[in-house]
Amino acid sequence: MLQVFGIRHHGPGSSKSLLKALHNFEPDILLIEGPPDANDLIGHVQNLGLIPPVALLVYNPKNLKQAAYFPFASFSPEWQAMRYGLEHDIPVEFMDLPMSLQFSLNEQTTLNLFEENLPSDEDEEDVPEEDLAAIEREIAAKKKKQEKAKALRLDPLSYIAQLAGYSDSERWWEVTFEQHKGDGDIFPAVTELMSALRSDTEAEENTRGLQREAYMRTCIRAAQKKGFEKIAIVCGAWHAPTLQDIDQYKASADKASLKGIKKIKTKATWVPWTYDRLSVQSGYGAGILSPAWYQLLFTDQADAVVLWMTKVARLFREEGIDASSAHVIEAVRLADTLATIRNLPIAGIDELFEAAISIFCSGYESKMDIVQRKQVIGDVMGKVPADIPMIPLQQDLEKQIKSARLSKEYATTELIEEKKLDLRVASNLTASQLLHRLNLLGLPWGKQLADSKKRKGSFSESWAMQWKPDFAIQIIEAGMWGNTVEVAATNFVKTSMKKISTLPALTKMVQQTLNAGLDDAIEDLVEQLQNLSAITKDVLHLMEALPSLVNTIRYGSTRQLNIGALEQVVDQIIPRICIGLPNACIAIDEAATERLFKHILQVNRAINQLNIKEHNLQWHKTLEQIVQSFQINGILSGACTRLLFDKSIFDEKETATQMLYALSKGNDTTKAAYWLEGFLHGSGLLLIHNPALWNILDRWVDELPFAAMKELLPLLRRTFSNFSTPEKEKMLLLAKQGQRDETHNQERLIEIDAAQKVLPTLKLLLGID
């Protein structure tokens, strides 16, 4: 004897009815609509550590794009059926068309679809004009019919629901089957209804559907052959009729429809899931409107309404919105009345939601966002225990998460806006390294917040973190790199660095790798870096790479990194830059100049930070070369003059000479203005406090012919607009005074006696004896 239980996926009422019915029927085998690829994993359902929502993940280890998830909540009928079977010690098996076949079918259909879409020539026969309109109408009607059939296939229940006067098929099922408190014998009625629907709507099942049903029947026949007498079949309601009347289908025909499908080897595992991903809103086909509400209906149907509303009130209280017990009472009453008006036996999630809007939120829906997130969908994530055969990488990841003290962040899928890590604390350093490693592996659990570095010094990092359940597939994907996070990340770096052809990208990876603490990969990376920097012809790339390398060297000590090798690389890069830069400045357009200008400043800063005599000397020589060159754009030579002045390589006199020269009459005015822009970049203070410079500039402006002045004004303005308002005001004042006395401001008075008094304290502070 076999009995078919047509359920609704993730329907709590279906679950209850199913359990009751199973108790009455006492089957000796249970066949469930699900992937047989995962048959070995069914036993884990009894594992107390496996807490739903969880999903079966079936994937093709050779092509991870072929993967399918089968989620279960605690109230899913399939989940309850599995538990029932295991508790009663009867065999439990999945019977759907295995994914190993479906994956290969998917490959074929993509091809077939392409062929079907090719236009055929037959359509374009000559037709008399008056018939054209009729034909067009016919085509439109046909199209409409096709669309209707498609919609029906997607949601066959909506048809019945519409007949019953419900706009929402979900609601209809709730009222008709699930809100009746779990009668055991609704299943024959469901099957009958479905068979009527299937014949009525003429909705042709697509090939895949037929194949799946054929496979299910094959499974049932196999069970019969094995001598099982009471076979319980749990499947989606839509399939129920075709499995009940199994004798009407020929075994040979079923076999034939499945013949010749290529088999792809698959693997399966349990992965944690979330309510968010179980909901319709997430785009999941069999999704449900409100997982949190269904959970309540399953565990406390009698008090579900009150419980839900109380939870909402508590939620609002946490948010600082008034929500007293009286509010709850009123809201429950309103929801119940609404249900009565709508002819429902008990209030559904829509009624509850609308009542809550009216009572708690003064009619404004916008405040309900948090309720939608926490009480309609539910912020729940399942757990998969360590003893279930996960892939080794996943096991290691969970171990790492524990030692990095990130378990709390791992347990939720909410966005954590700012997680601060102090790298001096061992566990925090582990956490930071773990996050960096995961980022390398393509699992963006954490995003490092950029500006945090500047603000808080080199010891702290800030991360925005959000775990996503579909990282599960990425973990498996990353599993091919190695069995621990560290090894996997190291291997990933070693492999992918070979594909990197530009220096900046490689240095970025070096930085990431250093942050991730992958010491084993560093050596290879540095070697690669050396090779690449040797063959890199583009000075710009070298210049782009340098600052981040220097940065790494400087801050490396906080991360206890091995930086010796990096210093070597830098020692080679700097001379290369120095040699190549003067030539790179010649004959370039404005945009390139702009870029180079920025890079020169950055490299200058980096070299200053390193402060190694050799490098300094070389760099200054290069800058002088640029200053002396005629062919170089004014911005660059101006900027270089300024850099040399800042470093006191050029004294005031020399600088003034350079400026006078650059701004002298013989020069092209545009070039002069550009020079000024480069020279004055950053700050006008220099001008204010250095009368010699001021006077040169002042004289230059004075002597400009009016026509040339007009031409130059925009450029001058560009430079001066970067200065702060007080600076500009001061300059205006100076300009009004005309030429300044050069000697007046020059005198510096140091009172040596007074200065010496602070020295003891200063020594104490600095720890100098």
């Binding site: 509010h327 009123e330 009345t337 008006i341 002819n343 829509d350 009216s358 404004y364």
Partner: protein
């Protein structure tokens, strides 16, 4: 019936007496005590539909059915109902029809004003009687609310937030204890079943007299939104214009759909600050530009066309009404309107007549 025809504006329960009668006859669902109709029938009366005997019920409210369901459910739970929304979102209209459908009486109305005192909410005295015979029940002049309590009917309070706060709070006892003490006579008026209050308030004038949280707690709030789509709004204006036109004895020309569409488009665009195609940003004037105003602009336009024009609604019949509705602040709104005319209306191909008519008025 003859009397009704002479009235400028009959009460809802009179204007739709036939529909209500049919509904009462056909309604077999359970009714809360002292309700004329079951909650289901009340919703049907407001939202419209076809009854089992084929009677067409005209829709009174165009919009989300769920809002009306919440409103009716609220009244059935004997919590009071507060209808919120910017002016012209049919708050008063809905409240009138709810009262008519539930109690068969929409006349128990208190109009909220800034100068109101407690007597208007509770009761007053017939002073001649009071002086001659002393305090007695006969000298008492009950307010509409008190009447509603005694008869178990729906009382309506318009513009609740315009009423001074201390006067508003009179409602607290009435709504929570369902009684009205009359200390002068040492007695009290207790509400009969079926009594409830529908208040309306607009959230444009927020902060006029904000409800105390004690009072707020006794109301369930339903916010009536502006129509969400152009089509919906055009339908509302069209239906109402036809209705009012009949009453004002304007010729039964079919509602000028084209003009309504243009008008509603203008109103929606100015309200939302961008054109319907979302391509052009426009400034919004200080005026509300509600659906109700659109209706009255069309109506006055029709009146103009009938009495001074050729009988069909033309652009220049509308121009004055539109300009009046939009330009409430003579300086700022005028620039907004001019800018809109020059940048949007002028560019539209079939709108030349409207542009010319309006620009003449503004300049």
């Amino acid at each position: 019936m003859k009397k009704t025809k002479q009235l400028l504006r009959p009460h809802a329960e009179e204007a739709y007496a036939a529909e209500l009668k049919k509904l009462v006859k056909i309604d077999d669902k359970q009714r809360p005590s002292n309700w004329q109709l079951s909650p289901w029938a009340v919703v049907t009366y407001l939202m419209g539909g076809t009854l089992t005997d084929g009677t067409e019920i005209e829709p009174k409210y165009f919009g989300n059915r769920r809002l009306i369901e919440v409103a009716v459910a609220t009244l059935a739970t004997d919590r009071a109902l507060l209808l919120m929304g910017i002016p012209g979102t049919a708050k008063t209209w809905v409240s009138e029809h709810l009262a008519a459908a539930i109690s068969g009486d929409s006349k128990l109305l208190v109009q909220g004003t800034a100068g109101m005192n407690e007597d208007a909410m509770r009761y007053g005295w017939n002073y001649a009687h009071l002086l001659s015979k002393g305090p007695s029940k006969e000298a008492l002049v009950p307010s509409p609310i008190m009447n509603a309590m005694q008869d178990g009917k729906i009382a309506r309070v318009e513009e609740l937030t315009r009423i001074p706060s201390d006067v508003q709070d009179t409602l607290i006892t009435i709504l929570s204890e369902k009684l009205l003490p009359i200390p002068e006579l040492g007695m009290e008026a207790q509400a009969q079943r079926g009594f409830n209050v529908i208040a309306t308030a607009n959230d444009r004038d927020k902060g006029v007299n904000e409800l105390s949280s004690a009072l707020q707690r006794r109301f369930n709030t339903v916010v009536l939104p502006l129509p969400s789509t152009l089509e919906e709004e055009v339908t509302i204006v069209k239906t109402r214009v036809e209705k009012i036109g009949q009453r004002l004895e304007l010729p039964a020309e079919n509602a000028p759909v084209k003009e309504i569409q243009r008008l509603v488009t203008i109103f929606r665009e100015l309200r939302s600050g961008k054109t319907e195609d979302g391509r052009t940003k426009v400034k919004s004037p200080s005026s509300t530009l509600s659906t109700a105003e659109a209706i009255s602009v069309i109506n006055s336009g029709q009146a103009l066309a009938t009495h001074f024009g050729d009988g069909t609604l033309q652009a220049n019949d509308l121009a004055a009404g539109i300009t009046g509705a939009i330009v409430k602040d003579p300086v700022q709104d005028k620039t907004v309107w001019l800018e809109y005319l020059e940048t949007v209306v002028k560019e539209r191909k079939d709108w030349k007549d409207l542009y010319r008519a309006c620009i003449d008025l503004v300049k």
